[in-house]
């Protein structure tokens, strides 16, 4: 491989690029390969989307070709000598030479730029913005190795690198891997025994089908999706009060379990409310974007935080579905990707017309009631709707409108404004200062609504009273009030403006909803609202969604995506390790598989690539430390959720109760210490202690400590990719957390069941097999026996210690000693690792 090395100032190797001789041979210059990296590294920090020194930006061809501030043309296609850029990068005087104040470009870089200009200075779109096509199967060295089509692309790549695939993993190792990957739990020992004795070549596929059909499947994949959805059971920020949004979590679990195609999964979450006659399930799905934070801190500005929530919805949508850091274009043009400042606010306009407004009650909500209260609850909620409609029609009456105008003029008196909730005041005063004719529909509605809340008018006051009474009757029925998206009706819509420098108070040009031109035009016939946006995302012409989503699933199975920066497919993200494979998978997923996730996953786990052993060698580790070439199987530490769930499962404690409100398993005292909050952690006493981790109550400012230690995010914002770490605090959790001790004691009981404590080796071997699904070798067994005997001697001498460890009196020294061994087994690298 012909590599060119760029040296950074400090002499550290910063970037290695594959050049394949383009610069020295005089061949065709490839903009993406040869030129864009130079611009991104050396030029765009001053001539990009943020700063456009001398009025020059190198992100778009049309901008780079027009005369700069000096009147000179930076780039004249076909004529390097007439191009000011060439003059400046080759200028002998360091004062005039670009990059300013930095080392000059290398001779090769200059030659490449000159040749590129000579060849017409063509701007090619970044690879990720060009629709993927499935390449024909490449030739491979060993036609017998591939089991599925994707294996051909992997093997072709290994062939080019001169590497060979690893042998297949053993049956128990592969079965455990697939089970952890597909349902987040290890398989039962009995199932492994049966599977590994089965000589039928279809046995593994049948096992996979079982996993895909398991109700545990949806729970496992929901944990991935909930990071992206920034799902949490609290509102965030200072007081971080609880929020009732678990029905959305349940919707995700069930959508995965039912095999909902990903295109529908997308549309229902982003715009379920805009579908014709939406079902309650489709409305619940829209809570995806109600997982934004609500700021209840005193003295905040509700409009500012409503805007912050909309910004989060834009950023999250583009990160999750497009692998695009649109957030960078919020204050200015994107620094290095081809997105203009306006593009951001055109996307913003899609999300800017929902009825939510940073209110502590999270309205609008979808109430759902316990079955026996459902009829009564629905009737009461119908009353609320009727009252709202009556209030609106009353407010529209001329007399009330006149009174409202008169009230507006008095609003400038602090004592009058002071009657409003403090977080409303800024926005209400801003609207009141805007002449009525200049207000948009939403602003008019807002003042009517606020006036209706404060007026002494007897009819409106009566409606308020009845509404409040009705709400208190509703609340007595203990409903789940799920925040959902609700579009403002026509005539009450907000206008969307560009926010200059990202400041919501400084309005630039007004914009209409639209998608960034760089990713492709919005196909004709799609609605200019969230539904149209959702349909654009899953449209066959969208170049990114298929790739981005396939990459996310690949990342979950292999530990690292084909594009490592799964959150960034832009020009500064890491390039794909195997683009032909990525594109083939994306096309397969969106066409043949019809967006069916189970089909995608099945294709991958049946592949020879996936079935490889993860055993490595020092040479392979040196060559490819992250296993991006896939010459072996994946080997990674389990996620926070898997670590907890596996411990409970192996101990036989795991509850199989699904769905419902979030639960509070034991956690240390003092974790919840929030300003201005009286909420307490009420530790569960029934099987809710042992539910799967995804049902644990997720408080944003004080997440469950054992999970946080294993790199789970706090879910304040969308986290595209968890970074795995390996720290001593993790060891302390699995060694000492009472929850893990409880699981160890339970495993010890299962070990003893195998034939009584007299047969020590059998009990130890069974514990090892229950946890790791493999038979221990003699040396491992001997190490466990040594530990067992030391522990037994201790607990014989100190029976009280044994009682403490087991949590109950009279467990006996043998059982206590087995608990110590079980605790050790549950701390083995192999146990916390998917191998």
């Amino acid at each position: 491989m012909n590599k060119r090395i760029w040296l950074a100032g400090a002499g550290v190797i910063a970037v290695v690029l594959v050049a394949r001789g383009a610069w020295s041979s005089g061949g065709a210059v490839d903009f993406n390969r040869d030129i864009r990296p130079i611009f991104n590294k050396k030029c765009v920090s001053c001539h990009g989307g943020v700063r456009q020194q001398a009025d020059l930006s190198l992100l778009f061809r049309e901008d780079a070709l027009k005369p700069a501030k000096s009147g000179k043309r930076p780039i004249v296609p076909g004529d390097p000598d007439a191009s000011e850029m060439v003059r400046r990068i080759t200028h002998p005087d360091p004062h005039d030479r670009m990059p300013k104040g930095r080392d000059p470009l290398s001779a090769d870089e200059i030659a490449a730029i000159k040749r590129w200009i000579k060849q017409g200075a063509l701007w090619e779109p970044h690879w990720a913005y060009v629709k993927p096509v499935a390449a024909p199967w490449p030739a491979v060295s060993d036609p017998a190795w591939p089991r599925t089509d994707l294996d051909r692309f992997v093997l072709a790549r290994l062939d080019r690198e001169g590497l060979t695939p690893s042998p297949a993993a053993s049956c128990p190792v592969l079965a455990r891997r697939a089970s952890l990957d597909l349902i987040g739990l290890p398989p039962a020992l009995e199932r492994i025994d049966q599977l590994c004795a089965d000589r039928d070549p279809k046995a593994y596929e049948r096992f996979i089908d079982e996993l895909l059909a398991s109700p545990r499947f949806g729970e496992r994949w929901a944990t991935m999706w909930l990071d992206l959805a920034r799902y949490a059971d609290s509102q965030g920020y200072e007081k971080d009060p609880s929020r009732s949004i678990w029905k959305f979590r349940d919707w995700v679990v069930q959508a995965f379990n039912r095999g909902m195609p990903f295109d529908r999964f997308t549309v229902e979450q982003l715009a379920g409310d805009l579908l014709p006659n939406p079902t309650e399930d489709q409305l619940t799905a829209t809570a995806f974007h109600r997982n934004t934070m609500t700021n209840d801190e005193g003295g905040t500005d509700d409009e500012e935080h409503r805007t912050a929530a909309v910004i989060d919805r834009v950023n999250t949508t583009f990160v999750v579905w497009q692998g695009t850091s649109m957030g960078c274009a919020q204050c200015h043009g994107h620094p290095y990707d081809p997105f203009r400042h306006q593009d951001y606010y055109r996307a913003f306009a899609y999300f800017n017309n929902t009825a939510d407004w940073d209110q502590t009650n999270d309205h609008p909500v979808l109430p759902s009631f316990p079955a026996d209260k459902d009829r009564e609850g629905r009737a009461l909620y119908a009353v609320i709707r009727g009252l709202k409609a009556r209030a609106e029609s009353l407010t529209a009456a001329p007399a009330i409108q006149t009174a409202r105008r008169e009230w507006e003029t008095r609003l400038m008196v602090p004592a009058v404004a002071g009657k409003l909730k403090d977080t409303w005041q800024n926005e209400v005063l801003r609207i009141a200062r805007t002449p009525e004719a200049d207000r948009d529909g939403e602003q008019k509605m807002m003042l009517d609504w606020v006036y209706a809340e404060v007026t002494d008018d007897p009819a409106l006051a009566a409606i308020r009273k009845e509404r409040d009474q009705t709400w208190s009757r509703i609340n007595k029925l203990a409903p789940a009030l799920t925040p959902v998206m609700e579009e403002l009706p026509s005539g009450r819509r907000r206008r969307t403006h560009v926010f200059e420098r990202g400041n919501f108070l400084v309005h630039g040009a007004e914009v209409e909803p639209g998608v960034p031109a760089s990713i492709g035009p919005r196909p004709a016939g799609l609605e200019p609202n969230r539904l149209g946006l959702a349909r654009w995302l899953v449209h066959p012409d969208n170049p990114l969604t298929g790739r981005v989503i396939v990459n996310r699933f690949w990342e979950q199975l292999f530990g690292v995506g084909l594009v490592e920066t799964s959150e960034d497919f832009g020009t500064q993200g890491t390039p794909p390790s195997n683009q032909a494979l990525l594109d083939w998978l994306a096309v397969q997923f969106t066409t043949t598989d019809q967006w069916r996730i189970k089909s995608l996953l099945k294709d991958v786990v049946l592949s020879a690539t996936y079935r490889q052993s993860s055993v490595t060698t020092p040479a392979l580790t040196e060559r490819d430390p992250q296993n991006r070439l896939l010459a072996r199987g994946p080997r990674y530490r389990l996620t926070a959720e898997q670590i907890r769930d596996q411990a409970l499962a192996v101990g036989g404690l795991l509850s199989d109760r699904m769905l419902g409100p979030s639960v509070m398993p034991p956690q240390p005292d003092g974790v919840w210490q929030r300003p201005y909050s009286g909420e307490v952690w009420k530790t569960a006493t029934d099987q809710d202690r042992f539910r799967r981790a995804l049902y644990t109550l997720w408080k944003r400012t004080a997440p469950y400590p054992a999970m946080l230690t294993f790199d789970s995010p706090s879910r304040e914002f969308c986290v595209s990719r968890r970074i795995r770490t390996n720290t001593p605090l993790q060891a302390l959790v699995t060694l000492n957390d009472p929850a893990f001790l409880e699981a160890a004691a339970a495993l010890a009981r299962r070990m003893a069941d195998s034939g009584g404590p007299a047969d020590v080796d059998q009990a130890l071997g069974r514990g090892y097999r229950l946890a790791l699904l493999q038979v221990p070798d003699q040396a491992s067994l001997a190490a466990l026996r040594t530990l067992y005997q030391a522990a037994l001697a201790h607990y014989r001498a100190h029976p009280g210690d044994g009682d403490s460890l087991g949590g109950v009196a009279g467990v006996g020294p043998e059982q206590a000693a087995l608990t110590v061994v079980a605790n050790a087994i549950m701390n083995l690298d192999q146990f916390v690792t998917k191998e």
């Binding site: 400090a10 550290v12 190797i13 910063a14 290695v16 920020y237 200072e238 700021n295 801190e297 905040t300 850091s325 602090p414 004592a415 404004a417 002071g418 403090d422 490592e564 960034d568 832009g570 890491t574 390790s577 195997n578 683009q579 993860s614 055993v615 020092p618 430390p625 992250q626 991006r628 080997r635 530490r637 240390p668 003092g670 210490q673 400012t701 004080a702 946080l708 230690t709 706090s714 914002f717 770490t725 390996n726 001593p728 605090l729 060694l735 000492n736 009472p738 466990l784 040594t786 530990l787 030391a790 522990a791 201790h794 460890l805 061994v821 605790n823 050790a824 083995l828 690298d829 191998e835």
Partner: protein, 494 residues
């Protein structure tokens, strides 16, 4: 067909996956490591700016140039104390007390709570000048007034955030949004730790609640989580899950670790994944932390004179105890000690949040201990190499808060992003100086204005870093604590 691109030079997960292999470690794991860490062991990708090998993420590292400070103790007064009742003496404001605020001062401003036209509020404390530097200090801080010649004041700090959570994030991570590494994370990433048996970055909380923005203010952001602050507690387990389970004595724990390590060694022989060796090292470090953390956190054995000096009571959770712990941790080579003391949000909406009640209590809880910390470090010869930073997240208004347009029940001030006071002492700070000046009512700076980026640049400079070169590549871009601005404040550097 598109060809594959090269990716080897840009890998991210690789550099963040491998941590904590200690050259000098003891125990089974380390012995094996020393023999296994041959020259063909993969190393982390070089990170521009500093030569951090992420296989060994907390080993001590030399910064860009010789440092003046080796460690930091950061005292954050959460809620934002009023500069006008502590350090920024404004006699003119006293004369304006009770007058309506001129409208010109309100124009273009957004306040958290002030509505309409508030009244001006004079200083709620007598002030005097102290020391050779003749620094103004209010009567609320009798102990601090004796150490004024050791500190440098920044009187014209400013921020652009006026709600607590985002302002605290800005002060600690350089960004008002969640997701960036905190100062402590950057510093431990850049310098490692001098004590491998204690967490490198320790967080101590007092005042009953944590910081408004939660653990993100001492988080590691996009840096590997090994650099996040570890909260240590003065009651219960000093670090969560530190104690062995009841009924599992330490010698048995040792034997249990021996078994775990032996099996992990066999696993490494079979699977050859270097991550397994890292895990062995982590378990050994956890075992050592189980002794060293409680030892460091136990203030009971400190002599009575020390308790008298700090005002400490062993067995309780208090800011004073945390100051004494900060000294003990500094002595033991902990790189960054972050204290948060909550309760400075003196709006006047309630007694505990009033300049004429709760504020007195906060001063009493902190004054003696802070003076003791500075004096104690000085007596032990540690002040020269320990940087102490004191401050809140913004300042308070010269106007009296009139929440909802009416007078508040107690005396208080609203949030003011325009001006606040911070002070620094020790490690490379020029003692006895004041930099920056506010207008005659303490509303905004008029000279020597500094912001959070400048503070961070100064701290990093004292620790030996060029703040523009302490960078970490994330999402395709080099990030730094000071983002795109910041200048070391030379006026306060010795």
């Amino acid at each position: 067909m598109p060809e594959e691109h090269d990716f080897e030079g840009q890998s991210l997960a690789h550099v963040t996956r491998r941590h904590f292999l200690e050259a000098g470690a003891t125990g089974i794991g380390a012995t094996a490591l020393a023999t296994l860490l041959g020259c063909d062991t993969p190393r982390g990708t070089p990170v521009p700016g500093i030569a951090r090998n992420l296989l060994d993420p907390l080993s001590p590292l030399a910064p860009h140039f010789p440092p003046k400070a080796k460690r930091v103790i950061y005292l954050h007064m959460a809620g934002a104390p009023s500069q006008l009742e502590l350090f920024d003496y404004k006699p003119v404001l006293a004369r304006l007390n009770g007058q309506l605020c001129p409208e010109s001062l309100m124009k273009g401003k957004r306040f958290a709570f002030i509505r309409g036209i508030p009244k001006m509020l004079g200083p709620q404390a007598p002030f005097n000048q102290y020391g050779e530097s003749r620094a103004w200090v209010s009567d609320h801080l009798p102990h601090f007034s004796r150490i004024v010649d050791d500190v440098a004041f920044l009187k014209a700090m400013r921020t652009d955030q006026f709600n607590h959570a985002p302002a605290q994030l800005l002060v600690h991570t350089g960004s008002p949004r969640i997701g960036r590494p905190s100062i402590g994370a950057w510093v431990t990433y850049g310098l490692g730790s001098e004590n491998q048996n204690l967490p490198a970055f320790v967080v101590l909380l007092s005042g009953g609640v944590g910081p408004d923005a939660g653990a993100s203010v001492y988080g590691s952001g996009f840096l590997p989580s090994v650099y996040q602050g570890v909260q240590c507690r003065s009651s219960g387990d000093p670090v969560l899950f530190l104690s062995d389970p009841k009924g599992l004595p330490r010698d048995l724990r040792r034997k249990s670790l021996d078994a775990i390590n032996a099996l992990n060694q066999r696993e490494h022989e079979a699977a050859q994944d270097p991550e397994i060796l890292t895990r062995i090292a982590q378990y050994e470090m956890a075992f050592r932390m189980q002794l060293s953390v409680p030892e460091a956190m136990d203030i009971e054995k400190e002599p009575a004179s020390v308790h008298e000096m700090y005002g400490t009571t062993p067995g309780t959770t208090s800011f004073a105890n945390n100051c004494l712990l900060a000294r003990r941790l500094a002595e033991r080579g902990v790189r960054f000690v972050q204290l948060f003391h909550w309760g400075w949000d003196s709006h006047g909406a309630s007694a505990s949040e009033a300049l004429n009640k709760g504020f007195f209590d906060r001063c009493k809880e902190t004054d003696r201990a802070i003076a003791a910390l500075v004096t104690d470090l000085k007596q032990r010869g540690l002040l020269d190499e320990t940087l102490i930073v004191w401050g809140g997240e913004f300042g308070r208004t010269p106007m009296q808060e009139n929440r909802s347009g009416a007078d508040n029940p107690f005396i208080g001030r609203d949030h003011n992003a325009g001006a606040f006071t911070m002070w620094l002492a020790g490690g490379g700070i020029k003692p006895g100086v004041t930099h920056g000046e506010t207008d005659e009512i303490g509303y905004e700076g008029i000279s020597g204005q500094t912001d959070v980026n400048d503070l961070h640049a100064t701290m990093l400079r004292l620790l030996g870093f060029n703040h523009e070169r302490l960078v970490y590549r994330f999402q395709g871009r080099d990030f730094r604590l000071t983002d795109v601005s910041g200048k070391p404040i030379r006026e306060i550097i010795a």
